[in-house]
Amino acid sequence: MIENHRKRPNFRQLFEKLWLKLVGSLKNSVPQIVAILAAFLIGAIVLLATGYSPLEAYGAILTGAFGDIYGIGQTLTQATPILFTALAFLLSFKCGLFNLGAEGQLIVGGFFAAVVGISFSGMPFFIHLPLALLAGAFGGALLGFIPAVLKAKLGAHEVITTMMLSYVALYVTSYFVNYPLKAPGWVSQTIPVAPSAELPRLLPVTQLSGAFVVSIVAAAATVYLLERTTIGYEIRAMGLNPAAAENAGINTKRGLILAFVISGAIAGIGGAGEILGVHRRFIDGFSPGYGWDGLAVALIGGLNPLGSIVAAILFGAIRSGGITMNVSTGVPLDIINILQALVVLFVAAPKLIGYIRKKGGFKWLTSRT
């Protein structure tokens, strides 16, 4: 009797708690929603000014991204590398630094994974695949390590060094697939990786691969790292107040290097996932700018790994639906890069969002906040 009495309200409380949490997180993401709406509004003006119908274009993105099972599969495929680079950016941001080199780390990670993928044959998949993924992580970590050490030991500005390294990564990998590792034919690419290094496809016809699962695991691991481990605590402390962190006995140089190495490794696994799961070989310039998508996604996701999952799916939808839009309406694909940039600009200044909500027609979104 007593037990029953205790159980029922508990269940209701749990439900209420969940509901409040959902409402709360929705309310917390109002600024991000306003940023996205405002970006699409300006995008519509750009489309109109260049002679395209925004309704048709956005409609094509929507149906392309979610219209059928194929669209959904491609949306999640596109969301995968974006989630990895978002996690990479947010990890560096949490320790108060900017890793603008996720694009290069992704490329090098993909390249290292491809090299391991094509170098061995006849290896069991449960050794070959993890080895190739690890190689990707190592490649990305290597590229994260260089700017981190230059920052920690010499004070070199990480924004400049990470950007410059991305160009170096692009050209050096391009050299390899144009000369020593070039597959026969006219395309700048390697030969396919061995089947034992392939990430399995999850949905027939689409390119959705096991990389998506790995990306979700990476998001969960990032939450764990930041919330439950000492190094995560140190990283967050450094981000909030480096001087105080130093005074509290945290080795900030070590923390900085670790944060960048892990950040690079995550982006590197993202590149490996693209190569082993989607392309199955390294193709010159395979990334259409996933590194920058990741930056936008991390910001839209509220610099939170779980929020980044939602935002990555949104940006994946824009990328995969964008291809449909380009084919069916002829709107240049670059409109989606404009949308992405506008989102970043709006999120850059939270006060701007507040200003828009006050002055613009978004009052209905501001209830009780």
Partner: protein
């Protein structure tokens, strides 16, 4: 067999001067921004937009000087946008700058397709003609290097001199530096901190746009997708190792311009694969930023200033 004089000759130095020019404009643009306490990593996007706008306006009017004007205006507009986001709304300077870079990349690619139907490059337009300076032109080596360049090359050196005078020899320059070093103190002495920041950021964007105009109108006479190729960031490096002074930036820009010219030269000689040669300016930038990082202190603290 490649002869050393095929690579190192007066032509190489003339090319260095040309490749340094966009960096001179952009790095001095960076100085005006950082001197009032705002990091301007948007230089890259401002240059790219300037390069595109210059070609677009020249394509429409047939006059490259109207193109240059359009480049300056477009760059200034982006400087204004950076100011609105970082000064008025105290936004994050790096994120705002990244957003502007992404916007420039996306918008120029989109418009290039909308106007010329090709994503990769625009049509060729009338570029800026080189002018030859009569007497200097006749000096053997020097004449070849500096005697026959587009007017923007000479303008870049003039801009460095004028910027030095403005920043360090006039009351206005003192105000600019005060706003960056101690905005609250500048405010109490009657300097309009916000206005100074806005003006300097617009000027910064205009100079970067001019650098972009040189790339498209003074160099190739067409727009190519992503043609700045990270030069905005190299300009930032030039600004840092130049100690945030116009002449320092000028000197550093020549160093990077030389690396760029050498890289182009080595590509055409063909002793190394172009992809490897192309990394030269970027690796040099990393090395130089790392080596000089400790030597200089930035002139301001880059925090948004808010009046009580």
């Amino acid at each position: 067999m490649v002869n050393i004089t095929d690579i190192v000759n007066a032509g190489l130095f003339a090319a260095s001067l040309r490749m340094a020019t966009p960096l001179v404009f952009a790095s001095i643009g960076g100085i005006f921004s950082e001197r009032v306490g705002i990091v301007n990593i948007a230089l890259e996007g401002m240059m790219l937009t300037g390069a595109f706008s210059g070609v677009l306006a020249t394509f429409a009017t047939g006059n490259p000087w109207i193109g240059v004007l359009a480049s300056v205006l477009a760059g200034g507009l982006l400087g204004y946008l950076h100011a609105i986001l970082t000064v008025k709304f105290s936004g994050n300077q790096i994120i705002s700058g990244t957003g502007i870079n992404l916007l420039a990349l996306g918008a120029t690619a989109y418009l290039c397709q909308a106007v010329w139907g090709s994503r990769g490059a625009s049509q060729s337009v009338q570029g800026l003609e080189a002018i030859s300076i009569p007497l200097i032109n006749d000096i053997p080596f020097l004449g070849e290097v500096i005697g026959n360049q587009t007017p923007l090359v000479y303008l870049s050196i003039l801009v460095a001199i004028l910027s030095y005078i403005l920043l360090f020899k006039t009351p206005g320059g003192l105000r600019i530096r005060a706003v960056g070093e101690h905005p609250a103190a500048a405010d109490t002495t009657g300097v309009d901190v916000y206005r100074t920041k806005y003006l300097c950021l617009i000027l910064s964007g205009m100079l970067a746009g001019l650098g972009g105009a040189f790339l498209s109108l003074g160099h190739l006479s067409l727009f190519v997708l992503g043609m700045t190729g990270g030069r905005g960031f190299i300009a930032l490096a030039a600004m840092i190792i130049g100690g945030w002074t116009p002449f320092g930036a000028l000197g550093a820009s020549f160093l990077f311009g030389f690396a760029d010219a050498l890289q182009i030269r080595l590509q055409s000689v063909g002793i190394l694969p172009s992809q490897i040669v192309l990394t030269l300016p970027y690796i040099l930038t990393i090395v130089v930023v790392a080596v000089f990082a400790r030597k200089r202190l930035p002139p301001s603290d880059y925090k948004p200033y808010e009046k009580d």
